[in-house]
Symmetry: C2
Subunit: 166 residues, 2 copies
């Protein structure tokens, strides 16, 4: 719907429609974001058997002290819901890459721990992922574009973080 539709008497007043330039900018960003994430995810999944979502979990754990994290903390770090993370960790447990451990400080809590097998799987996958990001993203951009991408991302993150409603 490129032009304003005919409904002119909305309760909240006329929406601030996007003009042609804004539409182009929005679509270019949206399509490129979807295609890029899709391509990287597919390459990683097909070459390593690890989806990008699972990869993020393994990375987070590998960077944590003693390679272990509380479930909720891990969920936040991976932009995941509690439920989604719980399911994902169960599946990673079945592969032997992660194990659960009760948290001694808080009887309600669980710790997700990266196993040696999980770390090895991550070591195999990391080069594939990094090469993908470089090939599809950084190799295509000038340093100025990279700087703008970061600036853009950080600006948006500040806003999204400030207006979060948990």
């Amino acid at each position: 719907m490129s032009a304003s539709p005919s409904s002119e008497f909305l309760p909240t007043g006329d929406p601030r429609w996007l003009d042609a330039e804004e539409q182009k900018a929005w679509r270019a960003w949206l399509y490129s974001a979807q295609l890029l994430q899709d391509r990287l995810d597919r390459e990683l999944t097909h070459r390593t058997g690890i989806s990008h979502a699972y990869y993020e979990i393994l990375v987070a754990l590998s960077e944590a002290p003693e390679r272990m994290m509380r479930m909720s903390e891990l969920a936040d770090r991976c932009l995941s819901s509690r439920s989604r993370l719980s399911h994902a960790v169960s599946r990673l447990e079945e592969r032997g890459w992660v194990r659960r451990q009760v948290c001694t400080e808080d009887g309600r809590g669980q710790l997700a721990v990266l196993t040696d097998d999980g770390f090895a799987a991550l070591e195999d996958a990391a080069p594939i992922h990094v090469e993908g990001v470089r090939r599809e993203l950084f190799d295509q951009l000038t340093p100025e574009q990279v700087a703008a991408m970061r600036d853009f991302g950080e600006t948006l993150l500040r806003h999204l973080d400030a207006t979060r409603v948990p």
Copy 2:
């Protein structure tokens, strides 16, 4: 995994790891993209019952001549697989928003046609979506950042398009 892991003798040579600045840029972009898309999709879904993916289908049809498109064409336009689009159109058909029609020029083909009910649903949803995009995206950015976002998206799209492997 922020630093190079210990596997130093890979068949393809050492991967070109991301340095700290590149990591920050990549993460900022990735997280902001995921959070933004997620927030817009949730708002649209909860307030209108239409997910962003379905919204895109309705928009594409509404802009097409006679509000109809070939299934494959529609799939490409919506960055969707044939199968996914076929499922989605079936569900939109159940809601009475789209109907299928055999293509007279090509006996294999099907046309997806937007119904009046579908157009009305889109008219209701469009202001919600546009306000979301404006509030979460354009209102947060300077004109320079918008220009950079578009430039970034178009650069990436050119690359992704040129290296597509169907």
